[in-house]
C-alpha cells in the first residue's frame, strides 16, 4: 500500500518533506518512465510501488512499465543476474538472442512512451537493450543496477556492457558495486519505508501475541538475526556467539528466515543450523512464510540486540530495519553493513563469533549505552535511510541530467 508524501511528515520531518516538494515543483510536468521486469515480488517492484505514486504526487508525470517475457527469457535473465553477481554461468549466443528478442517484442507497446519521455529509468539488466531499440529517444536514459556487479563473470559483463554503456548515467547502491563505464555513475543507497508492515510501529498487544506464539521469555534478553539460511549470513557463527554469551548470561536467540525447501543449499545450511542448535530450548530457528512482514517487525521490536553477522553481504537492509526499531545492531564488517552501522555509535562491526559475543556481553551489561545507541540508530536511519532520501536523490539526478551540463552545482 502506498502512502501520500504528507503521511511521512511526522517521521521524516516537515523540512525534509518541504524540501522534496520544492524540488518537485522545479520538475513539474516532467515525463518519467520506469521500466523493470516484474510488477510484484522482489525489491525493485517494492521500490517502484511507492516511488511512482510519490513522484506523481509531486507533479511529475511518472509511468511504470513492465516488460513481458517468456520462461526462457527469465531463465536467461536469472543467469545474467547470477553472472553479474560473480557466479560463472554458461550463457550461449542463443541465450543472448532470446534476451534481445524479448526486448524487441516489447517494443510495440513501449516505444512511444519511451521515446517521448524526458527521463527513462531502466531497472536491472532485463530491459537494458531497450535504449538501442529506441533510436528516436529524446530524453535522458538511466540504467539503475540494484545488484552488486563489483566482481561479475567477465563473459556476462562483456556481453551486457555494450547495452549499458550507451546510457546517459547509471546508478549503483554502493560505490563498491560499480563498474567502470563511460558515463557518470551515481550512488543511491536503498532505503526503507517506515510505514510498511515491516517497519510500522506495532501495538504492544501484537508483540506479546508473537512472543507467546514463539514461546519467548519476556524476562530474559533476546538476540535476533533475520535472514535467509545462507552460508554468507553465517547463522552457525551467530549460534557460536550465542553459546559463548550463554555461558555467563541467560540469553535467548531467534534465527528467523524464509522457507528454504526449494533451495538445495538453503536446506543444507538449515540442517547445519539445526545441528549446531542441538536441543537448546533457547535457540529458536523459525521458518517463516514470505509474507511474514509483521512477524519480522515484531521479532525485531522484541529483540534487545539485532545481529546481522554476514561474512559477505550485498546491502543488507535488515540492518537498517533493526536500527529503525531503536536497537543496536552487531553486524559483519562487510558490504553495505559497513555503511549502515556506525561502529561504536549505532552498533558494532565484527569479524568473528568471538567478536560478536564480546559486543553482546558488553551491551547487555551496559543497558544505558544500549539505549543510547538505539536512540542514535533510529536518528541515523531517519536522516539517511528513509525512502524520502532516496526519492530526493532521484529528483536531484533528474534535475542535474536535464540541466546540469556536467557542472558541479546548478540552480534550478
Amino acid at each position: 500500500m502506498s502512502h501520500s508524501l504528507e503521511a511521512y511528515t511526522d517521521i521524516a520531518g516537515l523540512p525534509a518533506i518541504r524540501q522534496m516538494q520544492r524540488l518537485g515543483e522545479r520538475l513539474r510536468g516532467l515525463r518519467v518512465v520506469h521500466v523493470n521486469s516484474t510488477s510484484e515480488g522482489g525489491g525493485v517492484a517494492e521500490i517502484l510501488a511507492w516511488m511512482v505514486p510519490l513522484m506523481q504526487e509531486l507533479g511529475i508525470d511518472t509511468a511504470w512499465k513492465v516488460i513481458r517475457g517468456t520462461p526462457a527469457f527469465f531463465g536467461v535473465t536469472k543467469s545474467i543476474h547470477n553472472g553479474l553477481q560473480g557466479k560463472i554461468v554458461p550463457l550461449t549466443k542463443k541465450d543472448w538472442g532470446v534476451y534481445y528478442d524479448v526486448n524487441v517484442s516489447n517494443l510495440s507497446e513501449l516505444r512511444e512512451p519511451l521515446e517521448g519521455a524526458d527521463v527513462v529509468v531502466i531497472h536491472d539488466p532485463q530491459p537494458a537493450p531497450l535504449l538501442e531499440l529506441c533510436p528516436k529517444r529524446k530524453g535522458k536514459w538511466i540504467w539503475r543496477a540494484h545488484i552488486d556487479i563489483s566482481r561479475p563473470d567477465r563473459a556476462v559483463w562483456k556481453s551486457l556492457r555494450p547495452y549499458v554503456e550507451k546510457y546517459d548515467a547509471s546508478i549503483f547502491s554502493m560505490r563498491e558495486f560499480a563498474q567502470p563505464l563511460p558515463h557518470p555513475q551515481f550512488i543511491i543507497a536503498p532505503s526503507i519505508d517506515p510505514l510498511s508492515d515491516k517497519n510500522i510501529t506495532l501495538d504492544p498487544a501484537e508483540l506479546e501475541k508473537e512472543r507467546a506464539r514463539f514461546g519467548l521469555d519476556p524476562h530474559r534478553p533476546l538476540l535476533v538475526q533475520i535472514s535467509r539460511f545462507d552460508r554468507f549470513k553465517d547463522p552457525v557463527g551467530v549460534i557460536q556467539a550465542y553459546q559463548l554469551v550463554r555461558k555467563v548470561l541467560p540469553v535467548q536467540l531467534v534465527l528467523a528466515g524464509g522457507e528454504a525447501t526449494d533451495d538445495p543449499e538453503g536446506k543444507e545450511i538449515l540442517e547445519e543450523v539445526m545441528g549446531a542448535a542441538g536441543d537448546d530450548p533457547d535457540i529458536h530457528v523459525l521458518l517463516l512464510p514470505p509474507d511474514s512482514h509483521r512477524t519480522i517487525n515484531a521479532l525485531q521490536r522484541m529483540a534487545d540486540i539485532i545481529i546481522q553477522k554476514s561474512t559477505r553481504e550485498g546491502f543488507g537492509l535488515t540492518v537498517t530495519e533493526g536500527l529503525w526499531k531503536g536497537k543496536p545492531v552487531i553486524g559483519g564488517d562487510v558490504g553495505g553493513i559497513k555503511l549502515q552501522i556506525a561502529n561504536h555509535y549505532t552498533g558494532y562491526l565484527v569479524n568473528t563469533p568471538e567478536g560478536a559475543a564480546h559486543r553482546i556481553r558488553f551491551l547487555l551489561h551496559h543497558q544505558e549505552q544500549m539505549q543510547a545507541m538505539g536512540k542514535k540508530a533510529r536518528e541515523f536511519v531517519r536522516e539517511n535511510f528513509l525512502l524520502t532520501r532516496q526519492l530526493r536523490e532521484y529528483l536531484t539526478l533528474f534535475a542535474w541530467l536535464l540541466r546540469g551540463e556536467g557542472k558541479h552545482t546548478i540552480m534550478v
Partner: protein, 223 residues
C-alpha cells in the same frame, strides 16, 4: 534594502572515475591528479554525510588514514587541514600532498588498507533551488536561520565560500550590501569555526550569535 533569497540544495554522490587506493602511495598519486571537485568533496562536503557526536576528523582522508591505514600520526596531520583557509583547491591539494609526502618519507613500510577498506575517490553534484522564502531585514536573520534545512545551511554557509566573493558566507555578503551598520552580525557569523561543527551546530551557533546583539539593542531601548 535588498531581500535575502533563501536557497536550499540537494547533493548526490558520484564516482570520480579514479581507481580506489589501497595504500598511502596510491592515495598520494591520485590526490595529485584528481579533479578539484573530488578534493572539495572529501574535504568540504563531508558535513552532509552522516556523522555522530564529534567525529575524530572532518575530512575523509584523515578518517581513512586513522581507521583503514592505522596511521594515527598521518590522520592527526591531515585532520588539522582547514579547507576554508586555502584560497584555492590547488593550494589545498598542495598542502595535503606535502603532509602525505612527509609521512611517506618517515615510514619504513607503506601503510595499506585491507581488501574492502580501500579509499574510493568520489565527487558530488549539487542541485540548488529557491525556497521562495525571503529575509527582508538583518534583524530577521536569526529567526529565519532557525527554520532552515541542513541543505540551506550548507548552501549559504559552506558552499557559498566556493562562489564569489570566494571565502565568504552568503549572510555576510548580503549584510555587506545593506544600509546601516551590521558589523556586529558579521562578527558573530565569522566567529563560528565552521570546520569543526556539524550543520545543526552551525545553525545553532548562528542563531545564538545573531540573537545576542539584538537582545542588547532591545534592552538598550527599554532603558
Amino acid at each position: 534594502m535588498s531581500e535575502f533569497e533563501i536557497k536550499d540544495c540537494s547533493l548526490l554522490i558520484r564516482m570520480s572515475g579514479l581507481p580506489a587506493a589501497v595504500n598511502l602511495r596510491e592515495l598520494r598519486d591520485r590526490v595529485s591528479i584528481c579533479n578539484p571537485d573530488v578534493l572539495y568533496h572529501h574535504f568540504c562536503e563531508t558535513p552532509l554525510a552522516p556523522s555522530f557526536d564529534y567525529p575524530d576528523y572532518r575530512n575523509d582522508f584523515a578518517v581513512w588514514a586513522k581507521w583503514r591505514l592505522g596511521d594515527e600520526i598521518l590522520a592527526e596531520r591531515l585532520g588539522m587541514i582547514d579547507p576554508y583557509l586555502f584560497p584555492s583547491m590547488e593550494e589545498l591539494r598542495a598542502a595535503a600532498l606535502e603532509i602525505i609526502d612527509d609521512r611517506l618519507g618517515e615510514v619504513t613500510m607503506i601503510p595499506w588498507a585491507r581488501p574492502g577498506h580501500e579509499f574510493y575517490f568520489m565527487q558530488a553534484i549539487t542541485v540548488a533551488f529557491d525556497t521562495g522564502e525571503r529575509i527582508r531585514h538583518p534583524d530577521e536573520l536569526h529567526a529565519a536561520i532557525d527554520r532552515m534545512t541542513n541543505g540551506s545551511i550548507y548552501f549559504h554557509v559552506l558552499e557559498a565560500r566556493r562562489r564569489e566573493p570566494v571565502g565568504q558566507d552568503d549572510f555576510s555578503s548580503w549584510l555587506d550590501g545593506q544600509e546601516g551598520n551590521w558589523h556586529h552580525y558579521q562578527t558573530a557569523i565569522r566567529a563560528i569555526d565552521v570546520t569543526f561543527h556539524s550543520l545543526s551546530e552551525i545553525r545553532r551557533e548562528l542563531v545564538e550569535g545573531l540573537s545576542k546583539p539584538r537582545t542588547k539593542k532591545t534592552r538598550g531601548r527599554k532603558q
